[in-house]
Symmetry: C2
Subunit: 212 residues, 2 copies
């Protein structure tokens, strides 16, 4: 009995298109209300179709969420994957921080969707965190540790450094309404992110440069 691909998943043109529309709508709704707070009706309306029609393309609400999270993790980890051993450590880290901040600015819904999932205890992505994510972080932490051993950046905990970069950048997406409420309407979104970029650059990069 030959081992075939688990799912052939032959898809019509319409199926491909409609699934895409649904996922886009679901991202909007899930990011705003969380998994349990979101309803299939809301997603269906946002996608411009009836509920039974939506359930023709996805078997269940959970199915939509799982598909969404799988895709999300790929694009979400892309910046960290690009962190490279070759090249100047400071430049590499500066680029990573900048890319992460740009993602918080350009894909806030994705950030909030992810934050929601983790906040609820990651019931649907725990295996991915312990597998794929942990491996990637460990690998990159070793690279950073190497830089520290060579005295190219100051010595500190690479894992917590990565956590701090995640926390500070994603904060501008996840806690956006709080940031806006505190800063007031003086500066628009562009200004806020410019200021944030400057601040994070100073905080992390200046702090990491080897003394003398």
């Amino acid at each position: 009995m030959p081992m075939e691909a688990v799912k052939p998943k032959r898809r019509t043109r319409i199926q491909t298109e409609k699934r895409e529309i649904i996922l886009e709508a679901a991202l909007e709704v899930f990011a705003q209300h969380g998994f349990r707070g979101a309803t299939i009706d809301q997603i269906a309306e946002a996608a411009g179709m009836s509920k039974p029609n939506l359930l023709y393309y996805f078997r269940s609400k959970e199915d939509i969420h799982v598909t969404l999270m799988q895709r999300l993790l790929e694009t979400w980890l892309a910046p960290l994957r690009e962190l490279d051993d070759i090249g100047d450590p400071i430049t590499e880290l500066r680029s990573y921080i900048r890319r992460k901040l740009e993602m918080a600015r350009d894909y806030p819904r994705e950030s909030r969707l992810f934050a929601n999932e983790i906040l609820q205890g990651a019931p649907r992505v725990m295996p991915m965190l312990e597998g794929e994510l942990k491996e990637l972080v460990d690998e990159k932490a070793q690279i950073i540790r190497g830089w520290m051993r060579d005295g190219r950046i100051v010595r500190t905990d690479p894992w917590h450094l990565i956590f701090a970069i995640w926390a500070t950048t994603q904060h501008y997406a996840d806690f956006d309404v709080q940031v806006r409420a505190v800063l007031g309407p003086d500066r628009g979104a562009e200004g806020r992110f410019e200021d944030a970029a400057r601040f994070l650059e100073q905080l992390f990069i200046e702090g990491l440069k080897p003394k003398r």
Copy 2:
């Protein structure tokens, strides 16, 4: 017509006790599932009483949440309130960061409850963010800015500095399952927070000390 207190709120001993039990249970449930994801039945069961009995002490689910958020904000902002103009800037900021990290360690449910509320767009606490919170942050940012003007710490954006301290410390409560998944079971909770404290001290404090 004399202006009296808006609500006399004469409370029985039992009322005081039971309301406390309910709030404790609600904190647990709301922190894990968010407002919409939590059900009155869940809270009632966690509080060890029947649903109608719970609704005898709180008029509605919303009523519980509002009460919880009001109390939360007070204790949540306490560390920032303590940030004082007198005394050494470095010492003050070090204490603030340590206190915030301790709160993330000792009151993770409170942190997650707050994160949930902000993530959903702060529908029930927006006025408090734009009022009380903004005023407090602005006041403390001015103090920090004063320190910078006097050359006692390096010049940077005080508001974003506060955001960064919030983000990094609360990360250990809100994203706890992710942190644990990535770090693995090697070190217990104590070890994680020790490492985090050391890292954050280095990141913020070393970075803020005036050069030469």
